[in-house]
Structures are given as C-alpha cells and as structure tokens.
C-alpha cells in the first residue's frame, strides 16, 4: 500500500492556487496605481511606488489567505486522503514560495513603473511620509496598531535585495498568523480563536520590533537603547516563525474535520 510522498504535490497545488489569487490582488492594486498616477499627473496628488503600495496591502492579503488555509484547504486535503502532516508541510512550503514571489513581482512592476515615469518624464509626486511613521511616544497600544499598519520598510531603490527580503519575511509572518488564527478557531471555536488573535498581535509586534531594531528604524523608548545586528534579528524572526508554525502544527495535528 506504499505511496510516494505527497506533500510536494500539495505544496505545488497550493502554491499555484494562491499564486493566482495573488495575481488578482496584484492586478487590482495595479489598476489603483494607474488611477493614482493619473490623479497625480492631473491634480498633483502625492503617490507611492507600486512596490510600496503592495507592501502595505499584502499584509492583509496574506493574513486572509492564511485564515482560509485552515478552513478551506485542510478539510479539502483530508477528504482527498492526504494526512494533516502532509498538508501542513505542503502549505508551509507554498506560503514561503508565495511570500518570495509577491515582492519579486511587485519590484519588477515597480521598476517598470519608474522606468516609464522617467522615460516619458511624467511629473509624479512621491509620497514623502511613507515609511517614517512612528507611534505616540510611550503608548504601546498605539504602537502595536501602527506596527500592523506600518511595518518596517526598506526602500526598493536603496537596497533592492534587502527590500525584497524584508517584504517577504514580513508577509510570510502575516500568512502564518492568519493560519494560526484560522487553526485556533477551527480547532477550539470562538474563545480560543480570539486568544489566537491576541497571540497573532504579539507575534507581529515582536517581529516588527526585531526588524525595526535591525534596520535602525524608530522603536518604542523601552527598546531604544537595544542594538541588534541584522543577522540576530533575522535569526530571531526565524525562531518566531518556527514557534508560530509549531503552534499551528499542534492545533492541526489531531484536529477533527468538520463535515
């Protein structure tokens, strides 16, 4: 009765399904970007690069498809005779792939955008406030909320590799917390699900903090004196991601499939 390993197949399928969703999402943002460009030229309104625009919106996109993963894909695969473990491995690999693909596509479109703007010499005003937001000094709740809206950001033109890396890391964490929230609700219902949302906020906040310190961005006073080399922050974020994945696995390992 031996079958060959099935999780690479799950990973491939999940990657493509979510990739097509991502294309839809990127397409909508591209249309918005074009409209903004027209407004910028005609009315002089400030606008971001496409890369920056995707950077802001991709968090929520990844959070949502992370949640869908537990409610839609887990039962689907178990129904088709795939173990929870193979689904878990496949879904993890697919989400890594997706997290890398989205910023790459966004940066390519962004480069094309900059190229077009320069070639035809359009007068577009770049939004100068982006990436510099900080919370009210001393207000931790405001900071947590702001960390959801404004995540540590590296400008594509200053260091493209780092920019893509930070972007990928960031949306990967969002996917994971979405998956964690979905798994929490799926396994134990509303109360535990709400607890997972709080946990998710915490994960996002710590990731944000680690990244901000490493990138020398403004952080809460409490951590202002902390200095971390980037690799320590990256290791910290990987530990955080692993911890989140471990929690998801614990929640889904023996979960009963809803019918």
């Amino acid at each position: 009765m031996n079958q060959k390993t099935i999780y690479p197949k799950v990973a491939t399928d999940l990657f493509w399904v979510q990739f097509f969703w991502a294309l839809g999402f990127l397409g909508v943002l591209l249309i918005v970007q074009i409209i903004k460009a027209i407004l910028s030229i005609t009315k002089g309104i400030e606008m971001n690069d496409y890369f920056d625009a995707v950077f802001i919106a991709a968090n929520i996109f990844m959070l949502v498809i992370g949640i869908i993963s537990s409610y839609g894909f887990l039962p689907y695969y178990v129904r088709n005779g795939v173990t929870r473990k193979d689904y878990f491995k496949g879904s993890t690999i697919a989400s890594v792939g997706l997290s890398i693909t989205i910023p790459i596509i966004a940066s390519i479109i962004s480069v094309i955008q900059v190229f077009i703007v320069n070639v035809i010499n359009l007068s577009i005003l770049k939004d100068s406030s982006f990436g510099n937001a900080t919370g009210d000094e001393g207000n931790i709740v405001a900071e947590i909320i702001l960390s959801i809206i404004f995540t540590p950001f590296v400008d594509l033109q200053s260091n493209w590799l780092l920019a893509i890396f930070v972007f990928a890391l960031n949306i990967f964490i969002y996917y994971l917390v979405g998956w964690l929230i979905g798994s929490g609700f799926y396994r134990f219902g509303v109360l535990f699900g709400l607890f997972c949302i709080i946990l998710a906020f915490l994960v996002i906040y710590v990731e944000d903090l680690l990244l901000s310190i490493a990138l020398d961005l403004p952080v809460h006073d409490m951590f202002a004196s902390v200095q971390l080399p980037i690799y320590v922050a990256v290791i910290g974020i990987f530990v955080l991601a692993s911890l989140t994945l471990w929690m998801i696995r614990q929640l889904t390992k023996r979960v009963a499939i809803k019918m």
Partner: protein, 290 residues
C-alpha cells in the same frame, strides 16, 4: 488485494455524550455493506473514524492491521462521501474532478465523465449554483469514479430525486461488479436500498446490534397473510413486528424462523408465508425501548 477492516471496543464520546460504545466488527470481503441506524445512532461518527476525519476516544479500528488516522498509506485507500455543502465552491465540475484525480490513484476520468452525463450535471457551471440534488450527484460521481478500495457513502443521496437515486444505485451495482471493492453505504432509506446490500450492520444508540448477511437476515422473520381470524390464531404466541389489515385479510410480520411443523400448520390454515422486509426488521430492532 482485499483489505480488512477490524474494529474492537471502538468508543467515541463528545463531552458526556456517548456516540459509540464498544463497537466491534470485521469487514473483509469486497462487497456492499449496509450500515443502518436511526438518526443519531452513531453511523457518521463511526464512518468518520474510518475515514480519518477524527480519532476514537478508546478502542481500536484498523485497516489491514494499521490505524487509519494520519496514516498516508491507509488514508489514500479510503474515500468518504457525504452530503458536503458547496455553498462556497466557485469551481466547476471539471476543476473539481481534476483535483480529485490528482490525489486519488485509482481515479477513472472517463467513468467520471460518463457519470456526469448520466446525472445531467453541467460541466461549466459553478458548483455553488447547483441544486442540493445535483451537488449530491457530484459527490456520488467523485465517490464512484475514485474507485478507492474502501468507499463510504454516508447518506450521500440527500436531496436527490427518485430517478437520480435510481441511477446512483444502478451505477453502484454495475461498477461494483466490474471493480469490486469494499463499499459501505449508510442510510435510513432502508426499503429503497435493501437490494443493494450483501451484508448488513445495524447500529443503535452507539452500539452494534447485529452484523449479518442480507439473505440470512431477512430469513430471521416471516410474513403471514390470510384470513384475519386464522392469522390471529396462528401468531398468538409469536413476536409481532408489524400488523396490517385490509378488510378481512390480515398480514402480520413475525420475528423468528418458523419450524417445519408451524409451516405445515400455516399451509393447513390456508395462510401464505412470505419473507420479511429488511425495513420491518430494522424498525423492530431499533424501536424505542430496545
């Protein structure tokens, strides 16, 4: 290769509620098994353990000696078809069947196409726009065409109209003749489906009441028909399952086999002795108080 399903002391509880109590059975032939039970008898609970949808609380269930839960070798062999809700499904049939094909090693694409034609299922319409009966027909199509060595239909016919159910039963019998496997059908539409079953298991309040070959099971009782007063006298000391009377003619279902002497006696009285229906037996065995 024939698989063997074996349950020993299988129990499942949800909180304080006992869904299954020490159920034990063994299925080892490629045939159609009927799982009968009233609402809440524990049919779906039992079948969902078999399909690795959930784990039992205690006891064991094995397929060829291996526990199915999270076992990739076993899970691939088991298909669990139930009345799944597709209200969120924006894919069409073609896309859905392609998905099944990728994960079910024995899937027969042509047979699936044949079934979609038989059931008149539109290929390009979104599945969420299907009627309940059409969604059930799709479920059945997937279940039959995946040809899993253990295929479970858990009240998969819900919402189907009578002609569609008839197509399902015919296709099931034909495909089973060509590609024998273990097929488990859970139902409470007993009278309509009894001819499909080769072996019957009856669950009642979480316990297995009986497991028996269909033929020997229906010989467990007889129907006695004739003049009302003759019938009444004849069945006096017998266990009655069901009584029907039309004018002076009475038909009574009794539980238990007749002795040769009783048969001769019935003949003498001009009574007609016939087989009992599975439905009557089922109702009797799962009556309140039993």
């Amino acid at each position: 290769m024939t698989l063997t399903i074996e349950a020993t002391d299988l129990s499942l509880t949800y909180g304080n509620q006992h869904a299954l109590r020490k159920v034990a059975f063994r299925l080892s032939d490629k045939k159609i098994y009927g799982f009968l039970g009233r609402n809440g008898a524990g049919k779906t609970s039992l079948l969902s353990i078999l399909a690795s949808f959930r784990e039992q609380t205690s006891g064991s269930l094995t397929i060829n000696g291996e526990a199915p839960f999270e076992n990739p070798n076993v899970m691939q062999q088991v298909a669990f078809i139930y009345s799944k809700d597709y209200k969120e499904e924006s894919d069409n049939i073609k896309e859905i069947l392609e998905g099944v094909e990728r994960y079910r090693p024995h899937f027969d694409k042509e047979y699936a196409q044949h079934l979609t034609q038989k059931f008149h299922l539109p290929l390009n319409k979104k599945v969420k726009e299907f009627s309940k009966g059409m969604q059930s027909a799709l479920n059945v199509t997937m279940g039959l065409a995946c040809r899993a060595p253990i295929t479970i239909f858990d009240e998969a016919y819900l919402g189907m109209d009578a002609p569609t159910r008839e197509i399902f039963y015919q296709e099931l019998l034909e495909d089973q003749a060509k590609h024998p496997r273990i097929i488990i059908i859970s139902t409470h539409l007993v009278s309509e489906m009894d001819y499909l079953f080769e072996e019957v298991l009856i669950l009642h309040k979480g316990s297995l009441v009986l497991q028996e070959e269909y033929e020997s099971l229906i010989s467990k009782g007889v129907s006695i028909t004739g003049a009302a007063n003759e019938v009444d006298e004849f069945v006096q000391s017998m266990k009655l399952l069901n009584v029907q009377q039309l004018g002076n003619t009475k038909s009574v279902m009794v539980y238990g086999e007749l002795t040769d002497l009783e048969r001769k006696n019935a003949q003498k009285r001009g009574l007609e002795v016939g087989p009992i229906s599975l439905q009557d037996l089922f109702i009797h065995l799962t009556e309140e108080g039993n």
